[in-house]
């Protein structure tokens, strides 16, 4: 394992500490591993969180126009209810709190318990669960679809709605509309190494890629030979369109890197994605390319589409100022 760390046990706190030092407008609360805005805003608070290792998610999306606070767990592991509770208490202005949760059993349980505890204290809390990964069958029986890079769009939409003065019900409705219109599909080329484990969680041969792999290295749908950027774009888009027909609609596109893939490659992928979208009569309204939801040092990418209507366009365009996303 080659990593710029001190002790594996300290990675989460030290990363957040370094983030606070780089962004003085943010506040880091050690112990609870919460990054929050310094000033509590008089509006619905939008809070997210999850395991560490997906940087800049989620702390990188804290700031005006997006999240009020982000709660971090250990690497790839949900934060505990007391940490989530700290963020809720810290940011609740009395107008209620929306929790944006990625669909993993640990996150569902911990955010669920935190939400129950906050409600017991008479804090209004609502939740939305992001499940955009089409690699996993949707199922009401098991945990079902994972939440991956599409979560960034949900942060943007909900954050904008709250910043514009929406009440809790309206902010939740906007977030749910985003969730309903977002689909993602990923691909990995090499595994990630958890600092506390020290070795890769799985092996991909030199000429192999895994289509549909999750952002914690969970297995995807198939292993196949390395593809060209064009073929990769085709595979990812096809899987998305099998699940949700975006034909004829206007979309926001996110070409996301998993942490270990150069931006150059992401831009090449974007070029191919845009060509395909045009062929399929899907109009791109806005594109993001970069490392928005990573899996430590994993190489690979994901593609996310969000279908837009007038409201979602307005919310997507609304200004935001966070370490990882700025829209002016």
């Amino acid at each position: 394992m080659k990593k710029i760390i001190n002790k594996p046990m300290d990675v989460v706190g030290e990363a957040l500490c370094g983030m606070e030092l780089a962004h003085p407008e943010l506040l880091y609360t050690p112990g609870y591993e919460v990054i929050s805005r310094k000033e509590k805003a008089d509006k619905v608070a939008v809070i997210s969180g999850g395991g560490a290792g997906h940087e800049p998610a989620h702390a990188g999306y804290v700031g005006k126009g997006m999240l009020d606070a982000a709660v971090s767990g250990n690497v790839f592991s949900s934060p505990s209810p007391d940490r989530i509770g700290d963020a809720i208490n810290r940011m609740n202005s009395g107008k209620g709190v929306l929790l944006i949760i990625k669909n993993y059993s640990g996150d569902i349980m911990n955010f669920g318990l935190a939400s129950d505890l906050a409600e017991a204290e008479d804090i209004q809390v609502e939740s939305v669960v992001v499940k955009d990964d089409v690699a996993v069958p949707d199922s009401t029986y098991s945990t079902g679809r994972r939440g991956i890079a599409g979560t960034v769009f949900v942060h943007k939409i909900a954050g904008a709605k709250a910043e514009l003065g929406g009440n809790l019900k309206e902010v939740k409705a906007a977030a749910e509309k985003a969730v309903a219109n977002i689909r993602s599909m990923g691909m990995a080329m090499s595994p990630c190494v958890l600092p506390a484990v020290g070795k890769p969680g799985f092996v991909l041969e030199d000429n192999e890629v895994e289509i549909g792999m999750g952002i914690h290295g969970e297995p995807g749908v198939e292993r196949t030979q390395v593809k060209t950027a064009k073929e990769t774009a085709e595979i990812l888009l096809e899987k998305i369109l099998e699940d949700y027909d975006y034909t004829g609609s206007e979309v926001a596109v996110l070409v996301n890197g998993l942490g270990g893939t150069p931006l150059m490659e992401l831009y090449i992928l974007n070029m191919e994605v845009q060509k395909l979208l045009e062929e399929k009569n899907i109009r791109t309204y806005k594109t993001l390319v970069g490392n928005y939801m990573t899996a430590l040092d994993m190489t690979g990418c994901s593609l996310t589409l969000m279908k837009l209507d007038d409201e979602l366009k307005e919310l997507l365009d609304a200004p935001c100022d966070t370490p990882a996303l700025k829209i002016r």
């Binding site: 250990n74 592991s77 349980m109 098991s142 969680g201």
Partner: protein
């Protein structure tokens, strides 16, 4: 007169459980890497390490208070699914034996049963889902049967320990319904569930500690 498990005994048990979990780090991580993301051991190990650090203070508490402290610590330190599940389990056990200084044979059984119910309800899971429940549930059944059959406390310890170990072993033939292993194409079939294995370590160690107490 049967055994009476004190707060100090339970703190000693925690130390021994920690040793066993700690020793088996590579093995449990291998199991987890086969079906999950490989962090189960490091998280649960971190939780027990913290409990051992606090064991002096934990050992002085009445057992019901001790359970409450263990629950809060595990929830905060372990995080993830295991943290909230173990946390909920210990808080439920604390409630089940509220006000008790020590635990007799029935008290240990009641605690384990309360833990099982809490884990099932918080995790929305049942036996057969390839989780820690598959070790704990058969252990509770064996414990209750042992008491109603009137076998000796020593024998109870043996059957409970065995049931927990067998239960963990049986997860090899199960398909996961909850958690990360569900994303595997074969739902983790053919692999032991690491959460069930670490659960069986804890139950086995607890039963060994009680046996020593009886034999002392």
């Amino acid at each position: 007169m049967g055994f009476e498990l004190t707060g100090k005994d339970y703190a000693d048990y925690i130390k021994k459980a920690y040793e066993l979990i700690h020793e088996n780090g590579d093995y449990v991580t291998e199991l987890d890497l086969a079906t999950g993301d490989g962090d189960h051991w490091s998280n649960i190990n971190m939780g027990f390490e913290k409990l051992v650090e606090k064991s002096e203070e934990l050992g002085q508490l009445p057992i019901s208070e001790e359970f409450k402290e263990i629950g809060k610590t595990m929830m905060a330190v372990i995080g993830g699914s295991s943290g909230v599940l173990y946390g909920s389990a210990y808080l439920a056990a604390a409630k089940a034996v509220k006000g008790r200084e020590t635990l007799d044979c029935q008290g240990v059984c009641d605690s384990l049963e309360a833990m099982l119910e809490a884990i099932m309800s918080r995790g929305q899971a049942k036996e057969g889902f390839k989780t820690m429940i598959d070790s704990l549930a058969p252990a509770v059944v064996a414990y209750k049967k042992g008491i109603s059959d009137g076998i000796s406390e020593l024998e109870i310890c043996e059957v409970v320990k065995q049931a927990a170990a067998d239960g963990a072993e049986n997860t090899k033939n199960m398909e996961a319904v909850k958690g990360r292993a569900t994303y595997q194409a074969n739902k983790g079939l053919g692999h032991l569930d690491p959460g069930a294995v670490t659960m069986s370590y804890q139950i086995g160690t607890l039963m060994n500690c009680i046996k020593e107490k009886i034999n002392f």
